[in-house]
């Protein structure tokens, strides 16, 4: 074997060197190399992002360890940093957002893919996609001046009168707080739920619908018992993508959450979220430890959204065969 290789090696090089030089002269290899370098820029950015976030948060990570996530005292003056109130606020507002946006979004997606005539469906989808393009600070302005007054007067007192036996609907109504942030987040993420769920539903083969109808199902039964289960991974994926959006949303939430680091059961109470505290305190932080704690919060946000998005992409991929790989 060794002899064959020895015999072949010079020969292959003789064969390929001119061809390679030719291609280099033609520019194909150069084009390949240049575009490859730019594509690799993505990986460089990702690597830099991870190292910077880990590096800049080192001080807080070493000082507080895992306690950072389980203590709730956030006192920059005393150098005490516990992230629990922010984690609580982020989880509660995102949960409220999903509770509203998932039924609304999946319902709308079912209408758009199963019932509406194609032309109406396309134009409604176009309008819904425009909603996704509205900048978050504009949602914030609307939430402050239009949503908060509505919540303060008719809505929160009404919820308190009718469902006030639940601890989440008790306490004075300020308008701002977990509920306001959750509702505006719901409006912001619903276009993402709709467009991805709709794509997954449209990817269901027509034979599935026809088979269900042929055995006597109504259209709704065919949709709910056959089409939706068939597209379920894509729909779950859309929910995860919406969750990742809601977790990281900054401006609109900062404007209506009330910015008080506290853990309260009532949705009417004011609170704080991870992106909101970064937005509010980062430029004012003077102590290194304070900056480092804020970057650690950013790191948490980064890792959470990466994990959630990673799962979501795989699920969407499994149903629509689009997303990361191409057929």
């Amino acid at each position: 074997m060794a002899e064959t290789v020895a015999l072949l090696e010079p020969q292959t090089e003789e064969d390929f060197r001119p061809a390679f030089l030719d291609r280099l002269r033609n520019g194909d290899e150069v084009a390949h190399l240049v575009t490859l370098i730019f594509a690799a820029a993505i990986l460089v950015i990702a690597a830099l992002l991870v190292t910077e976030l880990f590096g800049s948060s080192a001080e807080a990570r070493h000082k507080f360890g895992w306690h950072f996530f389980f203590t709730s005292k956030w006192d920059p003056v005393a150098g005490q940093f516990g992230a629990l109130p922010f984690i609580y606020g982020t989880v509660v507002t995102s949960a409220v957002a999903l509770l509203i946006s998932v039924p609304l979004g999946v319902g709308a997606a079912i209408f758009l893919s199963e019932l509406a005539p194609p032309r109406i469906s396309d134009s409604l989808t176009f309008i819904i996609e425009l909603l996704a393009a509205v900048p978050s600070v504009i949602y914030g302005v609307l939430a402050m001046f239009a949503l908060v007054p509505l919540l303060r007067d008719p809505i929160q007192p009404f919820l308190n009168r009718t469902l006030g036996f639940l601890p989440i609907f008790q306490g004075p109504s300020y308008g701002v707080g977990f509920l306001a942030a959750g509702v505006i987040l719901a409006i912001m993420v619903v276009p993402f739920v709709i467009s991805i769920s709709r794509e997954s539903l449209l990817a269901v083969p027509n034979e599935q619908r026809e088979a269900a109808l042929a055995v006597g199902a109504t259209r709704w039964e065919s949709t709910w018992q056959v089409v939706v289960p068939y597209a379920r991974l894509g729909i779950i994926g859309s929910v995860f993508l919406a969750l990742a959006r809601a977790l990281g949303e900054t401006m609109a939430v900062t404007m209506v959450i009330g910015n008080t680091p506290q853990i309260v059961k009532s949705l009417f109470a004011t609170g704080y979220t991870i992106p909101a505290v970064i937005a509010n305190e980062f430029t004012e932080a003077t102590e290194d430890l304070h900056l480092s704690a804020l970057v650690e919060l950013g790191l948490v946000l980064f890792l959470l959204t990466i994990i959630i998005n990673g799962f979501a992409r795989l699920m969407v991929l499994a149903t629509t065969r689009r997303g990361t790989t191409h057929p």
Binding site: T35, L49, H326
Partner: protein, 280 residues
């Protein structure tokens, strides 16, 4: 009710509910538009476009510096982000097969989902801290990091939509691969690629979170890229959370201007440039 009629009733009810869901979502957009046009339209005047901001509490003034600042920051971000995204997209569509391109693609998708405020922290760490001050350039870097992953993916997507036969035709006529790409594939996909780029620019022009601690904001004209610079979304935030009624008025006006720009870019790009549209 007989089972048959009950099932028909459920059928009608549930589809009625889904229609209501779709209608409610579409209504949000008109609610937003209506509110902004009503409040912003009343507040918009010429001074808004031509004057500098007044000190806190005084009425009048405008956001001329923020409009120019936004344009400046977005322009530099596009100059950095679009070429990188475009060339990377060419690699993924034309040269990429195997594990490495898959990895690049997946990373781009994940970066796409990273909250914009984290990108602000990143730009702070790599630009603001070494330079020791806030600057328009730092804001541009933050926005370009958001722009690159979307551009790379949309470019790839539209290049892939070009039929394989066009490439083969060019190669059969004796063109090299890069000539085929430059003279046949890219021109065939240029409308789609441009649409993707415009949508990307529209997205970063509305971002405020990544600018909070990179370009910071400025009440005066900023004369160079290394100075703190104001941007329209930053001004909306600052004015909306202030206690002054006149600033609230101007926040509405700025919101209307920003939204109009956003809708113009989106509708324009999708209707005029999309590959489905008839060629003129």
């Amino acid at each position: 009710m007989t089972p048959h009629r009950w099932r028909n009733f459920v059928n009608g009810l549930m589809f009625g509910l889904t229609a209501a869901c779709a209608l409610a979502t579409v209504c949000f957009l008109f609610w937003i538009l209506g509110f902004l046009i009503w409040n912003g339209g009343r507040s918009l005047n010429l001074a808004f476009f031509t004057h500098l901001p007044k000190p806190p509490g005084e009425t009048g003034g405008g956001m001329a510096n923020a409009i120019i600042g936004s344009a400046q920051i977005v322009l530099i971000a596009s100059l950095i982000g679009l070429p990188i995204g475009f060339l990377g997209g060419i690699y993924l569509a034309e040269f990429g097969s195997g594990a490495f391109p898959f990895f690049v693609r997946y990373t781009a998708d994940l970066l796409n989902g990273v909250p914009s405020i984290v990108m602000g922290l990143f730009a702070y760490a790599i630009v603001v801290r070494p330079m020791h001050h806030f600057s328009a350039f730092a804001g541009s870097v933050a926005l370009s990091v958001i722009l690159i992953p979307t551009t790379i993916r949309t470019t790839e997507q539209f290049l892939r939509a070009v039929p394989q036969t066009l490439r083969e035709g060019a190669l059969a006529l004796g063109a090299n691969k890069w000539r085929a790409i430059a003279t046949v594939v890219v021109p065939a996909a240029v409308r789609g690629v441009a649409t993707g780029m415009i949508l990307g620019i529209a997205r970063i022009a509305g971002e405020s979170a990544p600018l909070l601690f990179t370009s910071l904001g400025n009440d005066y004209w900023s004369t160079s890229l290394s100075q703190p610079t104001s941007a329209l979304p930053l001004m909306i935030y600052k004015y909306a959370i202030s206690p002054y009624a006149d600033w609230h008025r101007q926040a509405w006006a700025a919101g209307l201007v920003l939204l109009a720009l956003m809708l113009l870019l989106n509708v324009g790009a999708r209707l005029v440039l999309s590959p489905g549209a008839p060629r003129n």
